[in-house]
């Protein structure tokens, strides 16, 4: 059986994180046809990379998870380097070589999690794997580990953001050699083209649960928000806009997740706290619209889940990723200002049943076409299969 390794900075059921969730989803998908190993660190948190899990191998759902000890967690030294990176951000964006390469390496290494045993493992055993998937461009596990693997059989899933660290020249030069890439969104691919001068690879993303559920009926029609409730996610703008909504008397705002903002007491605002997945989808199915005011989304699985339930979505026009989803699907609207947000919220609340069904259906079709489990699995298999074939040719000098 072919063997595939997935390198990711953390892997544990308690870990909450986008790229970690993606890595585990890919691991489960690939384990149907391959022997999959996840190579990761002993950390469960990403602030200091404290080692909380024992090193060694364990099995979960038939997948081997191999954890390596962390030689260097985040220290005040890295904080000082990070401050210098931010201070020099303008210069680094203008010239990626503003810092000498050795200092760039030092920043990445100290950013962590630095696992020399993982790198040594790959150095010795890369040939035992038929393909190796590396998740997250930014972390030491990918940056230092990927060198041990031949470009033909390495697959890079950058999860790239437009941030200061991404402009360091060592990233663009190293990853230019690894042309098998998986982008989460077209927007991410454009960022890569702008910052790294390379955008080869496939836009794939993650699989979204598309099983339709019975909608939850509440006393009144409602707008829905799911996730962390805080200003950084644009929830203050959401509340302000809802305050000004003309139809407010006839429509509620329902929120789920953790409240870090301090929601006002109001009969129109209903806070349900944490809900399980089934109820979340039922709420999505029953909502007039799902609102996502956040500017910083790299994929936004929650918005796609709402679209999969046939619910129109309203998103922040400053998020390139979300605008892409809306314009490609026709499954909702985006706003460009606070006033525009109020107008678009009202429009969605006032949709008649047919119009709502049309928009919702467009959104659901988009998710089914692009993010259904089978499609993602098939595309992922195709990319991994190409890597396996190429690696086999390189090894034997002929076809498999």
């Amino acid at each position: 059986m072919t063997r595939v390794a997935i390198v990711v900075q953390r892997c544990h059921e308690s870990v909450v994180g986008g790229s970690e969730a993606l890595a585990w989803q890919y691991a489960r998908m690939l384990s149907a046809r391959h022997e999959v190993e996840v190579l990761t660190s002993t950390a469960t948190e990403h602030v200091l990379w404290s080692s909380t899990l024992p090193p060694g191998a364990e099995q979960r759902e038939g997948i081997v998870i191999r954890r390596f000890p962390i030689a260097l967690g985040r220290t005040p030294y890295w904080e000082a380097l990070y401050r210098r990176l931010i201070d020099d951000e303008a210069a680094i964006r203008a010239d990626g070589n503003h810092w000498r390469e050795a200092l760039q390496d030092e920043f990445i290494r100290c950013q962590g999690p630095h696992c020399p045993d993982l790198h040594a493992w790959l150095q010795v055993r890369a040939s035992d794997y038929d393909a190796v998937v590396f998740c997250t461009y930014l972390y030491s596990t990918t940056y230092f580990g990927i060198r041990a693997v031949a470009p033909e059989k390495a697959i890079l899933v950058p999860t790239l953001h437009d941030e200061a660290a991404a402009c360091l020249s060592v990233f663009s030069r190293l990853y230019a050699r690894y042309r098998r890439r998986i982008w989460l969104t077209h927007a991410e691919r454009r960022i890569a083209s702008r910052l790294w001068g390379c955008d080869a690879g496939s836009v794939l993303g993650m699989a979204v649960d598309t099983e339709p559920v019975a909608p939850e009926r509440r006393d009144r029609p409602y707008l829905l928000y799911c996730g962390r409730i805080e200003a950084g996610k644009g929830c203050d703008e959401l509340l302000s806009a809802f305050e000004r909504l003309p139809v407010r008397g006839r429509t509620s705002l329902v929120l789920t997740g953790a409240d870090h903002l301090g929601l006002p007491r109001s009969p129109d605002i209903e806070f349900l706290g944490f809900v399980d997945d089934a109820r979340k989808r039922a709420l999505m199915a029953g909502a007039s619209a799902f609102v996502l005011p956040s500017r910083f989304e790299s994929f936004s699985i929650v918005a796609l889940e709402a679209m999969a339930q046939g619910t129109p979505v309203l998103v922040n026009g400053q998020s390139e990723v979300m605008v892409d989803h809306i314009e490609r699907s026709g499954g909702g609207l985006h706003y460009d200002s606070q006033d525009d947000m109020v107008l678009k919220m009202e429009r969605l609340c006032m949709l008649d049943t047919d119009a709502r069904a049309r928009i919702g259906s467009a959104g659901r079709d988009y998710v089914l076409a692009n993010y259904g489990e089978e499609r993602i699995r098939a595309q992922l298999e195709a990319i991994v299969g190409q890597a396996i074939s190429a690696g086999s040719v390189e090894r034997t000098g002929s076809g498999p």
Binding site: R109, A120, V124, R147
Partner: protein
């Protein structure tokens, strides 16, 4: 297996001391009972006194590894009467001609040390282990059959150097953006510092006017005339304000020096291995070196080499490194690969394990 490691003096931070300590630790991890012996010991872990070695010498099943870096007649006596198996671990002795015009004492000491190569070769030890093929050549020339020789690079503390924080006082020093040359190694006649100053002065005159040179290395107070010659050359070339000497510094400052450098420049005329080369490669710092001794082998194609120490060649190399990002990339990647395949601690431990298996 009982293994004794013998060295004349176990230093705290020198290359030989590091090799002895890390070798002992590696042997322990491989399941052997390893002990260190020396006439004097600095730092930790310390070596045991020589008297404690007698019992091991009498055991035909034991192995004694003698680290030979300079002349030390007591070692000859130990090896001659030992009944155990014997390995000579050779770190090279500087040829005396390098000290001819600077220090008769050093010249005599080096001559005596080189003479011991023949004496040790005649003892017919079971294995002669060199840091590099260059080192092994000395014993082949003394008549040791090739089947009794092997190469094992010195053990190192690269993993530790990678995780030590860099000193910010040096990282944030003025002229950080200007061309920065770095030399690492003690100030001794064979290390080529006079050639380095000539090359740096030429670079400053024709390539970049405000370059700086950082020289990390201890000064030997016994080399009075050589030290004076270095200072005089600085003054004659007019570069004394552009050269910064760092002596007796800790690992944080050393790390910061590497991170601040555009390239490590090593114009040494004689090296048995050259640990700073692998430190630079591990940290991703490009290397410009003279093709002398074992330097070309240690680099394994990762650096820019020049035959001799032609100042123009060295200066032009630095200019090219500064300007050509793709070249720097190639040098760094080749260096990383070289470290991972040849000098990583795990690799050295495996190689040592293979060698000791033959003695079981």
């Amino acid at each position: 297996m009982r293994i004794g490691i013998l060295v004349a003096v176990l230093g705290e931070r020198d290359a030989v001391g590091t090799d002895v300590r890390e070798m002992a630790a590696a042997l322990q991890r491989l399941g052997h009972h390893a002990r260190m012996f020396a006439s004097a010991s600095h730092g930790v872990p310390a070596a045991e006194p020589l008297a404690a070695m007698e019992e091991l010498l009498r055991d035909p099943d034991a192995v004694l590894i003698y680290h030979f870096a300079f002349g030390w007649p007591p070692a000859i006596d130990f090896l001659r009467r030992a009944r155990c198996r014997r390995i000579v671990r050779y770190h090279n002795v500087t040829p005396p001609e390098f000290f001819a015009e600077w220090s008769p004492e050093y010249e005599a000491a080096c001559r005596a040390g080189r003479a011991e190569i023949d004496t040790l070769a005649a003892l017919d030890c079971e294995l002669y282990l060199g840091d590099s093929p260059h080192n092994v050549d000395d014993f082949l020339a003394a008549g040791v059959p090739r089947r009794r020789t092997a190469v094992l690079a010195p053990f190192n503390r690269l993993d530790h150097l990678l995780t030590v924080p860099g000193d910010f006082a040096l990282l944030d020093a003025p002229r950080q953006r200007k061309a920065t040359w770095l030399a690492v190694g003690r100030l001794a006649p064979n290390k080529g510092h006079l050639d380095l100053f000539d090359a740096f002065a030429l670079y400053r005159d024709y390539c970049e006017a405000n370059a700086r040179l950082i020289v990390v290395g201890s000064r030997d107070p016994r080399l009075v005339s050589y030290n004076a010659a270095l200072m005089e050359r600085l003054c004659v070339l007019g570069i004394e304000a552009d050269v910064r000497f760092l002596s007796g510094v800790g690992e944080e400052v050393l790390k910061a020096a590497y991170l601040s450098a555009d390239a490590l420049v090593s114009l040494s005329a004689h090296e048995g291995f050259c640990v700073p080369l692998i430190e630079a490669m591990a940290l991703g710092v490009p290397v410009i070196a003279r093709d002398a001794g074992a330097q070309a082998w240690t680099l394994g194609g990762a650096g820019l080499l020049s035959e001799g120490a032609d100042p123009a060649r060295v200066a032009a190399s630095m200019e090219r490194v500064r300007q050509d990002a793709a070249l720097r990339d190639a040098m760094r990647e080749t260096g990383f690969a070289r470290i991972a395949s040849e000098f990583a601690p795990g690799v050295l431990e495996r190689n040592l394990g293979d060698l000791t298996e033959a003695f079981r």
